[in-house]
Symmetry: C2
Amino acid sequence: MGASYSLCSHSSTLSTHTLLHSHPKATAFSHIRQSGLPNPSFKLNPTNQIFQTHLRIMAQPSQVLPLQGGQVEVGETQEGNGTRPLLDFHGIDQELVEKIVYDALVWSSLHGLVVGDKSVQRSGKVPGVGMVHAPFALLPMPFPESHWKQACELAPIFNELVDRVSLDAKFLQDSLSRTKKSDAFTSGLLDIHSKMQEINKKEDIRLGLHRSDYMLDEQTKLLLQIEMNTISCSFPGLGCLVSDLHRSLLNHYGEFLGLDSKRVPNNPAASQFVEALAKAWTEYNNPRAVVMFVVQADERNMYDQHWLSALLKEIHNVSTLRKTLAEIDTEGELLPDGTLVVGGQAIAVVYFRAGYTPNDYPSESEWRARLLMEQSSAIKCPSISYHLAGTKKIQQELVKPNVLERFVDNKDDIAKLRKCFAGLWSLDDSDIVKDAIERPGLYVMKPQREGGGNNIYGNDVREALVRLQKEGSEADAAYILMQRIFPIVSRTLLMRNGICYKDDTVSELGIYGAYLRYMTNFWVFVSFSLYLGPGRSIKLFCWHCW
Amino acid sequence: MGASYSLCSHSSTLSTHTLLHSHPKATAFSHIRQSGLPNPSFKLNPTNQIFQTHLRIMAQPSQVLPLQGGQVEVGETQEGNGTRPLLDFHGIDQELVEKIVYDALVWSSLHGLVVGDKSVQRSGKVPGVGMVHAPFALLPMPFPESHWKQACELAPIFNELVDRVSLDAKFLQDSLSRTKKSDAFTSGLLDIHSKMQEINKKEDIRLGLHRSDYMLDEQTKLLLQIEMNTISCSFPGLGCLVSDLHRSLLNHYGEFLGLDSKRVPNNPAASQFVEALAKAWTEYNNPRAVVMFVVQADERNMYDQHWLSALLKEIHNVSTLRKTLAEIDTEGELLPDGTLVVGGQAIAVVYFRAGYTPNDYPSESEWRARLLMEQSSAIKCPSISYHLAGTKKIQQELVKPNVLERFVDNKDDIAKLRKCFAGLWSLDDSDIVKDAIERPGLYVMKPQREGGGNNIYGNDVREALVRLQKEGSEADAAYILMQRIFPIVSRTLLMRNGICYKDDTVSELGIYGAYLRYMTNFWVFVSFSLYLGPGRSIKLFCWHCW
């Protein structure tokens, strides 16, 4: 979720028999022992954000090797003055790695696998300046095909679940009532949600562009969900390119690596997110309206977004507009018929690539903009209800006994969902809190706050829980406890800023899924009953990424 | 020639009836009067290089306008404190220009229309870092279809002419004998040429990747050749992308601009240069050999080159190697059979993207490398003979009466060539020198030195000629005089470093042409006579660019 830069895949060996080269998202350790095996004292962080933190550590490699022609550095990341050997990556020849590194950097540059360079001031505002290749893992990571298929099968079920949960306003308000008191951001969202309930606002066309993230627990071989992102899922645009890059590299070097490019699955995330946006735009049925991307004022991951707007225009001839929340507050208005107009332009679909973190709401202006959009007839991706349905607190509520059954009819689907649920608990569960204080290494403490990087691990879990107990306030409602998952740790070649680093990483598998639900359009298809008949559900697709 | 950054096209109105949107290369005035009409005192420079100089002037616009979202600047370049109105570009609406500018910048970033940013130190060595969109003109320039066709028709004729001239060693040596005394660089090339003559070295497979540059003289409506580049022609890779960019922009905005995207001709320069390189590689007939790109150590235009190597690999599965002249001197060797081996790798084709300027030969090391390659059996693109055949002195010799007839049999071809010849004179023509001192505005003084930026215009011509006369040395042999061409001046929107500038420009039309001549391969096609029969000439293609 949000604009973190963990656009990575990595290679490792799994003991599973059926292997498929897939593209899990790499996360990485800030601290890791020489053994390369996980240890409860590790600072493992399963969200995107930590990868950035990690790479800050890696930005000062102690050893670098010049590549052929003196052009590319290949180095070793490490803590302190480690003396691990360079480039013993699975026994691959160093010269070969250097060639692959060079080709990968060239490929990224020619194919738009780029981000804004933080060191260049304008790179977050002006396209075309201060570009650098996106960080990525040099090679794809083997991943069990059965678990990949399992994750793909789950996508439409989770999409449907989000939709059903979003329609249960009381469930959302009740579940988040305690969180509301301790978390101002959730409170702000719930206020808008309440206002929509008061005016009985219905969203007849509902669009979700989701990403469900998983880790494969090494010991149990279970695919466990980390989180379900319902707002601002990042890297649908660039993620596809990483698949293409890996396929291209394996086409040329696969025989030397023992990897087959055909086993890198196609990743159509960008084109299919775009198809969903275009279908929603069509349903809105105003040819002069556009799709509005709600963006942060300073966005280094803008090209991930630009890929979507470029494809929308090229493939579907649908125009886009980019606006910050503050601009929408200034330039936006509602017409009497509910049409959202921003800067004189009617908006068919609002696609949020901002607004998922409290940082995006520095003043009342941004909250006014969010409310304005929610009040409008524009299709919100996501609506306030979809946004709330993706919060960690709701994820934790859904794990409770008999809750899924309120939203899902099909028993097979319920079983599939439960199978991927990790342990999730509220902090008012005193037995679990006691256990977590005793064995903090087995838990992760997650705040409601989105965007990653705020999770608590290891002994910090104990300290935080003890502190909350002493304070005795409602502050504990801002957190949930989650079972700590221990995926396999792999030695991985990571590319960042033109330099290849080797480090130990764990992987997340992110599965994109789009969901569009709408009543058959009255104005076009008059023979269909309106607002009363069952909506049609399009389970457009599901796929894996990195 | 070489790595200048004038990857530009621009729009202007010509009075010709049949207009075609084409992509002339924009050059620009450093000094221009408000009238926008050329004046003999202008510093007009018809080569690539001046565009860089020009854009340095433009880098400090006095006025900039924020774009929608405050993201892109559109400004006015000027001399002094001019107050010309902003964005009155052919009456196009400012908001529309801002949209086109933004889309153009995004398109460039996603499609690899990029160069290294000089302000980022590593950007000339490491791919994927410090990238910025290539400079380009925002919209294509209308250009008479008849003149474009004329230029395309000339390409194979010029290619054949270069080949024929290259075979006449005496003509090359005699024509350049005076230049040799005053120009150390030409002298170095001639020395290698002489050594090849001494050992009776034959090049049975000859590959030329050329670009012939033209300007359209406004008054006479004549298409006149500026120069024939036979080494290191830049922008075959990025030039195609500019055509694609313009087509994409006109697809979306053409109706508002009155421009039809279908009238932007296809520019297959990259794929067809690559096809020629691949055919040459095939003819060399060593599957383990590669194509070596001879490059400068610091190359901001590397992506133009990377496009060729990427396409060579993707389409033809031919690998490339990048080496500087210094590296080739260190790592290169000749096997007894003449095979060139660099860093342990056999070389089938040597493709020069360096070595065209004296700056590329800072020591004897680089000259040794050039000689080593020339001695080898590798196909040189270009050979030393092709390189010499492209010098300005040879261009001037070919204009003399009865010289073309030595090399071209077909009278129609001779007539076509003569029609595009501008006036060219040696400085030992005292009548012309006298006239040039009297009317310096009608002449351009060109040194042998390649790479542009060294031409002399206006009153400087007079000063230089008078100085040379006083010195009375052989130094005048390092120059030729050329008729000054006055193409139409157009107000143009130029994109550089994320900013849109408006300025007066003149255009060059560069036509790429590839030429591969070889005897039928003995080892494969034994039924053909060898070394005696006529070589086959492949006139692969011609096209226009920007």
